[in-house]
């Protein structure tokens, strides 16, 4: 192994070291060794040594592999090809030791031994494959029941929060919907044919533990419509145990709709379901019983026209298998996008370009004041009705 004085500095300190991880693999694996050397060079020269893009893949799939070639491959032959395989992770990132070990076995045989658990989109990322071994890796993975995730202009690997599997707040079954959507759209996931990428993310409640509102084209975030469920005894217990209910709970409610006079009183019509009070007193407060989700669309990173947070499209929807209603909406949206999308324009930008009102009209979703925080403040209205000379409304 080459000398890595700079990277060695990153083995110091209390946080687990990725350099130590690379070294562990590099000891037994030429590809990892190549990466180690190239990375030391990057640290020295303060620049990347990966070439721009490179298209590789497995048969029948239009995505799931990110091609990566080194520009110093001669010096570091192990790094010359160093492709990424995006393996579609399990819903909620649940595993057994047994299943993970089988993936490790395959990866040790054919790849660098290095991984990302997980990639930012959610994939179980295998980092550093040769072009030649891609097919083998794919076949072995699929034999063990694993498939590839997404890349390119199509559906990306959906991901979801831990939801009902381990969280009392979950307002719908995030794992089930995640799995159903993933299976329903295998073709769109594996054979990208959209104008640009499309990300689904599923959070069980407004805490949004999978950051859906910040980074998915289509975010489904659990919420409820009726009254927050209160266990007054448990509430009293929190207060007895020292909770400063005035400062830490009442004053932090965004609409100031909770009161306390020994028992809790919530003015539910004013509650915006922000979760704060429930988070502070999970034993005493719970979401209502009329549960479902809010659909928001269009989040993305800044490139090209600035970052977007997702915005409300459907204020409330109930979610039960077979999920026909939500799939119907998705179908309409993709038809719309097919007609109106432009290359490298995310759906969020597309909606802004055509106007949220026109978009909702086109996909047949009801237009309610809840989709905006305020009505327009400029007088530039595209009136569509007018009177004709004869006096009829045109």
């Amino acid at each position: 192994m080459s000398e890595t004085p700079l990277l060695d500095e990153l083995e110091k300190g209390q946080w687990p070291s990725f350099v130590s991880e690379i070294k562990k693999s590099a000891k037994k694996n030429k590809k990892a060794e190549g990466l180690l050397g190239q990375l030391e060079l990057s640290y020295k020269e303060k620049k990347t040594h990966w070439k721009h893009g490179g298209i590789v893949g497995v048969r029948g799939y239009g995505g799931g592999v990110i091609g990566r070639f080194s520009d110093v491959g001669e010096e570091f032959p192990g790094a010359a090809h160093f492709h990424t395989i995006r393996v579609n992770q399990t819903a909620g990132f649940f595993y057994t030791a047994e299943a993970l070990r089988k993936i490790c076995d395959i990866w040790d045989r054919h790849g660098s031994g290095l991984t990302n658990l997980h990639g930012s989109t959610g994939d179980l990322v295998l980092l550093g494959a040769d072009t030649d071994s891609l097919e083998d890796i794919f076949c072995e993975l699929s034999k063990e029941g694993w498939d590839l995730g997404g890349s390119g202009g199509g559906v990306r690997t959906p991901s979801c929060c831990v939801g009902p599997a381990r969280c009392e707040f979950s307002c719908y079954d995030t794992l089930a919907l995640n799995q159903d959507i993933t299976m329903t759209y295998q073709d769109e996931l594996h054979r990208p044919s959209f104008a640009y990428k499309w990300k689904f993310k599923f959070s069980g409640c407004p805490n949004d533990c999978v950051a859906a509102i910040a980074r998915s084209d289509f975010a489904v975030i659990g919420t409820w419509r009726d009254d927050i469920q209160i266990d007054q005894d448990a509430a009293a217990e929190y207060v007895q145990n020292g909770l400063d209910i005035q400062t830490d709970l009442l004053a932090k409610c965004p609409t100031r709709c909770i009161e306390w006079d020994g028992s809790l009183r919530i003015n539910n019509p004013d509650c915006t379901k922000c979760m704060h009070c429930i988070n502070v007193m999970p034993k005493a407060l719970r979401p209502g019983k009329d549960k479902g989700a809010c659909i928001l669309m269009g989040a993305k990173a800044p490139i090209v026209q600035g970052a977007l947070l997702a915005s409300v499209i459907v204020p409330f929807i109930r979610l039960q298998p077979p999920y026909d209603e939500i799939k119907g909406i998705i179908k309409k949206i993709w038809e719309f996008w097919d007609e109106n999308g432009v290359a490298r324009e995310r759906i969020g930008e597309c909606i802004q370009r055509v106007g949220l009102g026109n978009f909702l009209e086109a996909i047949g979703v009801e237009i309610s004041p809840q989709v905006v925080t305020q009505p327009r403040d400029n007088p530039y209205i595209f009136y569509e009705e007018y009177y004709e000379e004869e006096g009829g409304e045109g």
């Binding site: 990277l7 500095e9 990153l10 300190g13 209390q14 946080w15 687990p16 990725f18 991880e21 690379i22 562990k24 990375l39 990057s42 640290y43 020269e45 303060k46 620049k47 990347t48 990966w50 048969r59 160093f82 579609n88 399990t90 819903a91 057994t96 030791a97 299943a99 993970l100 031994g113 290095l114 990302n116 997980h118 930012s120 699929s142 034999k143 498939d147 831990v162 009902p164 381990r166 009392e168 799995q179 993933t182 299976m183 295998q186 073709d187 407004p206 509102i213 910040a214 975030i221 830490d248 965004p254 704060h276 034993k283 990173a301 800044p302 490139i303 090209v304 600035g306 947070l309 490298r344």
Partner: protein
């Protein structure tokens, strides 16, 4: 060419395995019937079901870029203490799911002995979400894993202990593509360029489409041109703000510049719909040099912001809410960060960030 046999064996579009296979029996039995949770101590959660059953979670750090050795090791621990069940979090921590309360301390003991800190729950700093950097991306203006390592080394006590006003979410991205929720983090570290892409007029006409290259620029800085009779593009240097999007679209416009690439620091973003709702991260420090391997300027800047927040924030006040309460003027004076022209927005919605009221603190 694959043989017919191979083609048959090869299954496509099977999707990920159904999650049921990976759920502990306690979870299966109480699925959707959890009643409440408690944080027993930093890094340890207990979820109690309506049935009275409890599942314990121990949350441990991971550098995310991990070897199969690491995975095998945590699998060993999962088998020893957790009936083989474990999961990862949306911020790349490892979660061990325990049925038996007595296993908690021994598990934590082993983890810590092996240099894997436990924590990240509640009002603490959890794992940093990050991107590829020099490890795997052609776009990177800095390294991501390295920055994560040095920053978490500095902030490790806030991972291990719940000693902050609220959750503090940090993200690192190595270029403006921002692969992660960098744009909505309490603190974001963002790699960036400060010089104009260099056009390779030889390769450009061969490998790039001129119209899509021109269209790629958010600020209309790129125009078509002819160089030595060949089609190419030129950049209006006054309009370029170094976003690198042209390079993403056209490889013949490399923007990396080791001398000038570096890091910017952003604060006050948020994802959760709690209290004041989601918000974007805002510029705190426009530029710090790339100083690997340990980026001392970056770690001390982050440390400073975190400590000022830790001292001044009130309970349940995320970074954004704290700054909202005290105002940006005070944020800059408390942290000692200089406010410059660069902090004033000059992009699409710039005017909306101008102060359009006389309301301000003296």
């Amino acid at each position: 060419m694959a043989t017919l046999e191979e083609l048959k064996a090869r299954k496509t579009d099977i999707g990920p395995p159904p999650v049921e296979k990976f759920l502990h029996s306690i979870i299966k039995e109480n699925y959707g019937k959890w009643r409440y949770h408690e944080i027993l101590k930093s890094g340890v959660l207990a979820h109690t079901a309506e049935s009275g059953a409890v599942i314990y979670t121990v949350r441990a750090a991971s550098p995310r870029l991990i070897s199969t050795d690491f995975i095998r090791y945590i699998c060993d621990l999962a088998e020893k203490y957790c009936d083989g069940y474990l999961r990862f979090t949306s911020r790349n921590n490892v979660e061990f799911l325990l049925a038996n309360k007595d296993n908690i301390e021994p598990l934590i003991g082993e983890l810590e002995n092996n240099g894997i800190p436990v924590g990240g729950t509640g009002r603490s700093i959890s794992n940093i979400v990050h991107t590829q950097g020099w490890v795997h991306c052609h776009s990177a203006a800095t390294d991501a894993s390295g920055l994560v390592k040095v920053v978490m080394d500095e902030l490790i006590d806030h991972f291990k202990n719940e000693d902050l006003p609220a959750k503090l979410r940090i993200a690192v991205a190595c270029c403006l593509n921002m692969c992660g929720a960098v744009h909505c983090s309490d603190i974001a570290i963002l790699g960036l360029h400060r010089t104009v892409p260099k056009i390779d007029n030889e390769r450009l006409p061969k490998i790039c489409e001129i119209p899509s290259t021109v269209a790629s620029c958010p600020n209309a800085a790129i125009r078509p041109t002819f160089i030595d009779g060949k089609k190419s593009v030129k950049i209006d240097e006054d309009r370029c703000m170094y976003c690198g999007n042209c390079y993403t679209v056209c490889p013949a416009m490399p923007i990396a510049d080791p001398l000038n690439d570096g890091v910017s620091i952003w604060v006050g973003g948020k994802v959760a719909n709690t209290r004041q709702g989601p918000s974007f991260t805002k510029l705190a420090i426009p530029f710090l040099p790339n100083n690997p391997p340990r980026w001392p300027e970056v770690t001390s800047a982050i440390k400073n912001i975190v400590e000022v927040y830790a001292r001044n924030g009130k309970k349940y006040e995320r970074m954004a809410e704290w700054i909202d309460r005290i105002g940006w003027t005070k944020f800059f004076s408390l942290t000692g960060i200089q406010f410059t022209k660069y902090h004033i927005d000059d992009f699409k919605h710039a005017g909306l960030s101008y102060r359009r009221t006389t309301q301000m603190r003296s």
